[in-house]
Symmetry: C2
Subunit: 397 residues, 2 copies
């Protein structure tokens, strides 16, 4: 008799974005014709750049010709793309072998699947508030979680866990708070991991939004990190690939734990991917190569600048109203302290009703997110400006 | 201290295709200039059809324009594609809701991930020989496996397991044997599952290769199957999408087990996918819509016919030599009884040495595959003809 995985019953019943969808739908039905301004989801909105489009078209055209057609590629990804990513790291002073870089269909699946190569008794440390995937995927797998509180007191920056932890997820620049760990702060994690033989999973999906050059764009900027850290990254937010689907995960050969010597953890992820994944789309990978070309890099930088300008508009617009805002300087997210002691969801309803603006309740990212609110800089500039203006004119503080 | 998932140590150390790669490499280095003819891998080789290429190009072009750009779509897939697939089933007399169909990046990941929504104590029945993904993914998850022997005696057709099983994987048309279950044979599985409250996972990745109209193309052709079966399918072998990456999984609302009432298992897979997956590429999905158009259907039928003609060439060519061959009539795989009591790998080496042809040792698919050999009909017709001719002229029987 088949039984279900009852760990699913331990998950929060509703994902925050589906609840948002429901409330927006109810509001729209009650208020037909009202334009709703969305600063809610971290979804890219601007067109792909011309070089990248060219790469993707080339990818399709190759498949239309028997001489250039390709079927299954290596599950680990196109060697050209693995090499191009190794070169990107090299430019930043980090030496990686192409074999240490695994191409995937995005950071989310990798973040959700990476724990599966570790023992089910592993204790997993995550920040609170945090991107829900780290929590939910480990709850489903039956792993125990411990939380690192990130509050106004510590500038929303996590510190190594006080409890024993075997796996530690760090997202920097952070979703949802927009905070970024310094090299010194990241070094504390590396020291903890080396001392305790723990493994860090560093999610760098937003590193291209870092403007302050002193902040680390890769955990491998920290000496010793290759011995204790996996890095996950993505083309999504940087090149507009949220719908194209392309990411990568670095598992260094040097990464070891007591029972797994040099190369072993790399080989486990290799086996996981070759067994349970069949490679990212060859079209998307051609696009990824275009992103990593010199021209592609320049164009994608402009894309990032565009969203970062939006972040500035939101942050300065809300600051002027006397609201307390965090993040937004090196990240596309603005983390707002909800005024008047309202709950996150009360503020959601108020903002929707009064200003017709949709954001994301901080409580959707964990208990310590209660009383906060995430605004996303992903959107067309004119809509961002309209939303900020509407908040300034209509929100009753 | 992080520990690894030691279930990985229980896996066979080397995947059959990497061993093949190694042996071919050694042979090539020793015999420079010798053309090696590959009938080994189930990888499509012909260009995408014009309608499908048009669809994919359209998909890319949409992303190049701010007015048609899309980022993240629904994790469950584009509603248009889910509806188009529901219509495909409807044409075959099967009614499914779009909400019962989940778009994925291919059948392999879904086959590997589906067990995770069931309890880890689940006993999993698989055929022997079998597509390695069902076995390996469940070994990694720590689930217990029982095997259903598929031999010449039973025409390589599995019967419901004699032992208690909670999950049963069926692949029909079968990879590697090319055998196809009849409706009556499939009904026996449905009866078993309904009686024992087991869940069947039906992998139909090759159903478009069925030419005998009496054979089932979907498990839902069997009354009662919606109550006990999940169906996984793919655009890979049918439309040449092995590298494009697109598939789907059907989890009917009616599928229940004792502790999970109507819609619950559907909701578990929905939660799994929304938590751990971020949707198939929007470009690939546009291509999928083109495949499902009337014109696309006609073109892809020709593609299938092309490979099936290859299968005929292999089967009749080898039969004429007096070799015992199975499959190939409703599947792109020919299952060869290895002559002279050689082992599968001995025959691999002999075939490579004497005829310069690469195939897949049956033992790579399980113990009961020992003494058999898989030949794949995926290839250019002229290469298939060349390979068969070389076997006829050079293989010493």
């Amino acid at each position: 008799m088949a039984k279900i995985n009852t760990n699913y019953n331990k998950l929060s019943p509703s994902y925050v974005f589906s609840e948002i969808g429901k409330r927006v739908k109810v509001f729209s039905e009650k208020n037909p014709g009202v334009e709703i301004l969305k600063l809610g989801v971290g979804n890219t909105t601007e067109a792909l750049t011309s070089t990248v489009v060219k790469g993707l078209l080339e990818g399709v055209k190759k498949l239309s010709n028997i001489k250039t057609y390709t079927g299954y590629g290596d599950e680990q990804g196109d060697t050209r793309l693995r090499k191009a990513l190794a070169e990107l790291y090299q430019k930043r002073g980090i030496s990686l072998l192409p074999e240490e870089i695994f191409i995937s269909d995005g950071a989310k699946p990798d973040c959700a699947n990476i724990s599966s190569i570790f023992d089910e008794s592993s204790i997993v440390a995550v920040a609170d508030p945090v991107y829900p995937v780290y929590v939910d995927s480990n709850v489903i797998a039956g792993k125990k979680l411990v939380y690192i509180e990130c509050t106004e007191e510590n500038n929303f920056i996590p510190s190594p866990p006080k409890e024993k932890a075997d796996l530690i997820f760090i997202c920097s620049p952070n979703n949802p708070t927009g905070s970024v760990v310094t090299k010194k702060q990241l070094k504390a994690f590396v020291d903890y991991a080396l001392k305790n033989k723990a493994v860090i999973v560093f999610d760098g999906a937003y590193v291209e939004y870092i403007t302050d050059k002193s902040l680390p764009k890769s955990i491998y900027e920290i000496p010793g990190a290759k011995k204790c850290a996996i890095e996950i990254n993505s083309f999504s937010k940087w090149a507009g690939f949220t719908g194209v689907r392309l990411g990568w995960t670095v598992v260094p050969m040097d990464l070891t734990v007591e029972e797994a010597g040099r190369g072993k953890i790399n080989s486990l992820w290799n086996r996981r991917q070759t067994t349970m994944f069949n490679g990212a789309s060859n079209i998307a990978q051609e696009g990824g190569l275009a992103v990593l070309s010199d021209k592609g890099q320049k164009e994608c930088k402009k894309l990032v600048d565009y969203y970062m300008n939006n972040a500035k508009i939101i942050k300065s617009g809300l600051s002027k109203m006397g609201l307390k805002v965090f993040g937004g300087d090196n990240a596309p997210y603005i983390w707002l302290k909800v005024p008047n002691n309202l709950s996150s969801w009360e503020f959601f309803d108020k903002l929707l009703k009064e200003a017709h603006v949709v954001g994301t309740p901080g409580s959707g990212f964990g208990g310590k997110g209660e009383g906060y609110f995430r605004l996303s800089a992903f959107g067309h500039k004119e809509n961002i400006e309209k939303a900020v203006k509407s908040i300034q004119e209509n929100l009753k503080l």
